[in-house]
């Protein structure tokens, strides 16, 4: 039960962080990717701030097997694996990111603005997820 409450709470804090940082505005994300023209470095401060909180504290739980709710910790083990799926996949994601200024978190959070583009983006994102699941 508490796992579900914390999931909701964490989603809420995450969404709050996205909207406060301005990352729910695709134009601002495009501004970050526009290195040659009117570059907006804000996104570095968002990622930097998040990493600054998580990186140091991560190591306290690293050796533990269970979370404070007693749930088994699950972490990807392939942290050294560089393969074609990683490079090809993150490249495709980057192209899509640059085309719209949306990545998954902000696209979902932008549903709060009741704009049709968010729904169109998320439906085609879901199609992409299923294409990967069944064809790749």
């Amino acid at each position: 039960m508490s796992e579900k409450i914390f999931s909701l709470l964490c989603g809420l804090i995450f969404g709050l962080g996205l909207v406060i940082s301005g990352m729910t505005n695709p134009e601002k994300v495009i501004g970050f990717l526009s290195f040659t023209h009117n570059w907006d470095a804000s996104l570095i401060f968002v990622m930097g701030g998040a990493i600054l909180v998580f990186a140091p504290t991560f190591y306290f739980l690293k050796e533990k097997q269970k979370s404070i709710l007693g749930i088994d910790v699950s972490l990807p083990k392939n942290t050294l694996q560089i393969d074609t799926r990683l490079i090809f996949g993150t490249s495709l994601f980057g192209v899509g990111w640059g085309l719209a200024g949306f990545c998954p978190g902000p696209a979902i959070s932008s549903l709060a603005f009741f704009e049709p583009v968010s729904i169109i983006f998320l439906i085609s994102m879901l199609v992409g997820i299923y294409v990967n699941k069944y064809f790749f």
């Binding site: 796992e3 579900k4 914390f6 999931s7 964490c10 989603g11 809420l12 804090i13 995450f14 709050l16 962080g17 996205l18 909207v19 406060i20 940082s21 301005g22 729910t24 695709p26 134009e27 601002k28 990717l33 023209h37 009117n38 570059w39 470095a41 401060f45 968002v46 701030g49 998040a50 998580f54 991560f58 269970k66 709710l69 749930i71 972490l75 990807p76 799926r85 490079i87 996949g89 993150t90 490249s91 994601f93 980057g94 192209v95 899509g96 640059g98 085309l99 990545c103 998954p104 979902i108 709060a112 169109i120 983006f121 085609s124 994102m125 992409g128 997820i129 299923y130 294409v131 790749f136």
Partner: protein, 141 residues
């Protein structure tokens, strides 16, 4: 620099970091949004928790709109073809590459995962090239 907002960006970033931290300490999982979104549809494992996280992602900005006097900035291309192609590539690419800005960019980089650092640099470079090309063709200013 145009529209550069380091303070609000940093505060938002700290909140995202705290969310990822709390999520990991309580549920034992890394908060990668593309994975949570994908699993909410394709997997029965922890389905309710995944959906609750996604609902929270929408509730956060909703509460902010209700309680904040500030106007929300939201500006996106109105080309629905571009949006559709972009969504498809983001869905396909994040699942093939195993993460997005949160999973690789925040969680992975925080763990000093070489895989995530390479992935993050790759999607930033690919995104920058895409924006550069769109600017050449006059689609972005």
């Amino acid at each position: 620099m145009h529209n550069f907002t380091p303070q609000s960006a940093f505060i938002g970033g700290l909140l995202i970091g705290f969310s990822v931290l709390l999520f990991f300490y309580t549920t034992g999982r890394l908060a990668g949004v593309s994975g949570i979104f994908s699993n909410a549809f394709t997997s029965h494992n922890k389905r309710t928790s995944n959906w609750l996280f996604l609902i929270g992602l929408v509730l956060g900005p909703l509460l902010f709109i209700i309680f904040s006097p500030n106007e929300i900035q939201f500006s996106v291309t109105n080309s629905f073809i571009l949006i559709t192609i972009a969504g498809f590539l983001v869905g396909l690419g994040t699942r093939m590459g195993g993460g997005c800005t949160s999973g690789h960019g925040v969680c992975g980089v925080s763990r000093f995962s070489i895989r995530s650092i390479v992935g993050t640099l790759t999607f930033i470079i690919a995104g920058a090239i895409t924006v550069f090309v769109l600017q050449i063709y006059g689609i972005y200013l």
